[in-house]
Every structure is written in structure tokens, then in C-alpha cells.
């Protein structure tokens, strides 16, 4: 019995969990309103910023528009919180019972985490894209609409890159989940991450607009692959022929984060099986 034959089990877990999470439509609609509001505020801030710029900014206004609207659409993809269900299981100690399933614990949780990132993102992304890409262009605010991808190739590369983003985000969320086994409460992480992740991913200020001396650091950190990379591939700020290298770097980070997560879980599991959760 090889491990590979298990893929069906993990796929089934992703599907079931997604279907469960897709039930939370009201939250998504409420989220859509808020994110749209903040999107417009950001756009207005940058309109003012670009109107008074003294030197040529490192991104065009169109590229910034892409960055803002894709950021609002894919906000839920960022690893800024933990799955409440997994957190509860760890707090109550019932996580030990997960070991009753003939599954690898990392993959089992990874499947759930993948669904936890994918389902809410889908719910929020679709109305946001429909509104900013299809509806805004036919209103007086057409100048602020989400432009189409720079080219067909850029669009395709964007899709490939977003898939990597999903795995990157899930791999980082997994590390957050595993640390819960030590800290028990998810409160700390849930308060800390929203302060760090969006900044490093580029959601507060697009990363290319940061000062020159920070660019080296910003380039070599994993959060960049969770927003900045796919957004700039879409807008053509990263040219289509350079996209593959960037996507390769994303997957490199995926591999690193997964390896670290597996190592961490291995150590944490010791705690589970010795103390019984």
C-alpha cells in the first residue's frame, strides 16, 4: 500500500471541508462590502499620491490599480488567522483522536488547511472580480476599474502563480496550526499575524514602492509570493517571460515551509502522544 494511493482520501477531505465552509455566505457578503469600501479608500489615497508625485514612481497607476483590486479580491488567501476548528481540537485535547485515522497527520491537516484558505477566498473573490472588472468599467468610475491582464501570457502565468500562492499560504498556516500545540490558544497568533503578514505581502503598500534599501529583504521573504508576485505578473510589472522564475521561487518557499512544518509537527506530535493532548 503506497502513500500515493491516499490522494483520494486527502482530496475528499479538501472537497468536504470546502463545501462546509462555502455555507458561510453571509460572512462573505459582509466581507465584500467592507473590502470594496477599503479598496476605494486605497485607490483614492494613491490617486492623491500619484497626482503630487515629484519623481516617477516605480509602478504605473494602472499597475497599482491591479495591485489594489487583486489584493482586495484575494485578501482571504493571506495566512493571517488559524482554523477555529483545529484550534478548538487542540484546546480541548481532542486532536489526539485525529491519530485514529489511517492518515499522515501533516497531510490530513494540510488538506483541511488548503480548504480553509480556498473556500473563503473563492466566496469573496468572485463578487469582487465581477464588480471591479465587469461593472466598474461601465460606470463613471471606469478609470478606477480593474484592468485586464497585461497579456494573455501574463493572465495564464497569473493563474499558475495564484495556485502557488494558495499552497504557500496553506503551508504557512500549517506552521501556525502546529505552534498551537504549544501555545494552546490561537489568540496570540490571530492578533500578531494580521499586523505582519499583510505588510510583508504588499497589501498595505505595494512592495515596489518601499525604499530601495528594503528591497533586498523584501525580495527574499516568503510572504512576497502570497500577493506581490501574482499581482505584478498580472499587471506585467513582472514581464511574462520572467514570471516562471518568480513562480519557481514561490514553489521553492512552499517546499521550505512544508519541510519546516513537517519537522515542527513531528516534534509537536511527541507532545500529543506522550501527554494525550
Amino acid at each position: 500500500m503506497s502513500d500515493h494511493a491516499h490522494w483520494r482520501a486527502y482530496l475528499a477531505i479538501v472537497t468536504v471541508r470546502c463545501r462546509m465552509l462555502l455555507q458561510y455566505r453571509a460572512a462573505a457578503i459582509a466581507g465584500f462590502g467592507t473590502q470594496l469600501f477599503w479598496g476605494f479608500i486605497k485607490v483614492m489615497v494613491f490617486v492623491a499620491f500619484y497626482a503630487s508625485a515629484v519623481s516617477e514612481p516605480p509602478m504605473t497607476f494602472t499597475e497599482v490599480l491591479v495591485y489594489i483590486w487583486l489584493g482586495q479580491a484575494l485578501l482571504a488567501l493571506l495566512p493571517w488567522n488559524v482554523d477555529a476548528e483545529i484550534a478548538t481540537q487542540i484546546r480541548t485535547g481532542s486532536v489526539a483522536y485525529e491519530l485514529l485515522r489511517p492518515l499522515d497527520l501533516y497531510r490530513f491537516w494540510f488538506a483541511r488547511t488548503l480548504a480553509f484558505r480556498l473556500a473563503p477566498t473563492t466566496l469573496r473573490m468572485l463578487p469582487m472580480l465581477a464588480f471591479t472588472f465587469l461593472l466598474l468599467p461601465v460606470t463613471p468610475l471606469a478609470d478606477w476599474a480593474l484592468p485586464p491582464p497585461a497579456s494573455v501570457m501574463s493572465g495564464l502565468m497569473f493563474v499558475v502563480s495564484v495556485v502557488a500562492t494558495l499552497f504557500l499560504s496553506a503551508a504557512f498556516t500549517m506552521i501556525m496550526h502546529v505552534t498551537l500545540i504549544w501555545t494552546v490558544s490561537g489568540e496570540g497568533i490571530n492578533r500578531m499575524m494580521p499586523g505582519i503578514v499583510p505588510v510583508l505581502a504588499g497589501l498595505i503598500v505595494p512592495l515596489p514602492l518601499f525604499p530601495e534599501w528594503l528591497q533586498g529583504f523584501l525580495y527574499w521573504q516568503p510572504f512576497r509570493g502570497m500577493a506581490d508576485v501574482p499581482f505584478r505578473i498580472y499587471s506585467g510589472h513582472i514581464p511574462a517571460d520572467a514570471a516562471l522564475a518568480e513562480i519557481g521561487l514561490q514553489w521553492g518557499w512552499v517546499a521550505v515551509l512544508i519541510a519546516f512544518g513537517i519537522w515542527l509537527l513531528d516534534r509537536a506530535r511527541h507532545r500529543l502522544v506522550v501527554q494525550g493532548g
Partner: protein
Amino acid sequence: MAEPLIVVRDLAKHFRIAEREPGLWGALKSLARRRYRTVEALHGVSFAISPGELVGYIGPNGAGKSTTIKILSGILVPSAGECRVAGRVPWADRVAHVAGIGVVFGQRTQLWWDLPVIESFDLLRDIYRVEAGRYERVRDELVTLLSLEALLDVPVRQLSLGQRMRCDLAASLLHEPDILFLDEPSIGLDAVSKLAMRQFVMRQNRERGTTVLLTTHDMDDVEAMCSRVMLINHGTLLLDGTVDDLRSERRRVVVEFDGPAELGDAHAALLVSRQGQRVVFEVPGRVAEFVASVTARYRLHDLTVSHLPIEETVAELYQRAPDRAGELR
């Protein structure tokens, strides 16, 4: 006798529990230096179970029953001792091991809370990789046996406790395990659900040869189902035998005198209670001799002899256990 399926030798398990003194000062102190208390849950337990046995595992709360079940299920690693289930070391060979056992914890469901029952079953099919045709056959059989037809489309959170237990039993057997661990399967169940649970487990044991180890507080469960009983307290096995071994030689003799009667010394020593003409004795053994001497001496209206309720015997066994305080500093 068949080769044992489950072998446990000198199994021990202790937990370290962080302690904190009460109050703010205690909280501050525990920041600087944590104090730990060691609790011994199991203290050298040994037993062997042969294929096809249905064994009851009893003991007061905190005796070590659930710890044993968790170790046998591979989700807890013992501190010392050996354990083999179907030739495997449960925790070392966890994935292969859990694929071959079924486990039900009465206190918690293993179904997915928000999913309709049938979807939980389907998910288990994928997780345990049961081949589709076989899955449908086994599932339909379980659905019939446990009368689950009406429950299949109901989300688990809407089920009553009895319904949930029936679904959990089915879920634990979808992959046709040879071994079934039941941890307090009758807890909180009403009489009808309890009977259904018992009959089903006994049938599974009898007709499929499934080896069953179940923990319970309900002595009726043990009397009705188990050919063998293990009694544990303070992490030590106190008894491993048949249900009859649980019953002592002692009998309760209720006598109704025909008119006032003065008890002789020998009889008065065995007196438990007296209400007018009705007298209750507890006789340690040789009950026939006792009855003969009573009938010879007094004029009787009625006399009945009965076993002591098994609950009482067990409660007595629990208390008689050497009170080796289960905690060590």
C-alpha cells in the same frame, strides 16, 4: 487456545501535569519555575485477549481504562511495558494499525459534526480506502442492522445521543476491522438505545468474530454481553475472570417471620436490617446450611435467597483495592 490477538505486558503510563498555586502570586511563581506533578495512570498492567473474545473492562473513574484503550489504539505512547495488537506495536506502526481497528468513544463522536451521516460514511470510505462495491455492501448491512435509514441525511449535530451512538458504531465498522474498542459506549443512552447497542455488538462478535474490548460503568452491560471481565483500579488489574467471579459467594437472605421472634447470636451477627417481621441477612457462604438453621429455629412466613447486586460487589472491590495513592511526587 488460539494465539492471543492482543498482548499487553507490564504496561505503565504516567503523565506530567503542570501545577500552579492559586492566586496571582502562584501565577507569577509558575512563570519562573514550573512545578510538575506526576500522575500514574497505569501501573504495570498485563493481559492477553484471544480472537473472538468480548471482554468488559471496568473500574471507577480515573482507574486507567481510557488510557489503556488509547494506548491500544495507537494514539498514546506508554511510559513502559509492551503491547502488541495483531502482531503490531500500535503507536510505532500507527497508520497500518488504525486501519485494522474500529474505535468508538462514547463521550465524543468521530463523525463530522456538520455533515449528513451518509457523507461522513462516504468520507470514511475514502479515508480507509474501502473498495466501492464492498463499501456499499457493508454500509447497507450496517444501516439495516442499526436501523439508520431515516438518519442518513441528517447532520450529525442534530442527532440524539442514542442515534449518534448507532451511527458511530456503524462508522467504526465500515472498514470491517477485526478488533473493536468501545470506550463507554452506553454512557448517557436510554434503555432502548442501550439494548440496541448491546445486541448489535454481541451480534458483531458472534457472527463476524470481531474481538471486542469495551469499557463501561454499567454492570448490566457486563452481565449481558461479556464472557470475561477485567477490573482495574489505581492503574492495577484487580481481577481478570468471568462475570461469575465478580459475584461473591455471599447471598442476601430475606426472611419474614410468622409472629415475633428473638434472634439467636449466630443469626444476629449476620443481620443487615430489620423492619417488624421482615429481616434481611447477608450470608458469607454455605447459604444452604444457614437456611436450614433458620427454618429449624423459627416459624417462617416467607424466605428468599438472592445474589448481591453486582454493583455492590464491584463497589466493594473498588474500595478494597490497595489505596496506593496513584500520585508520586
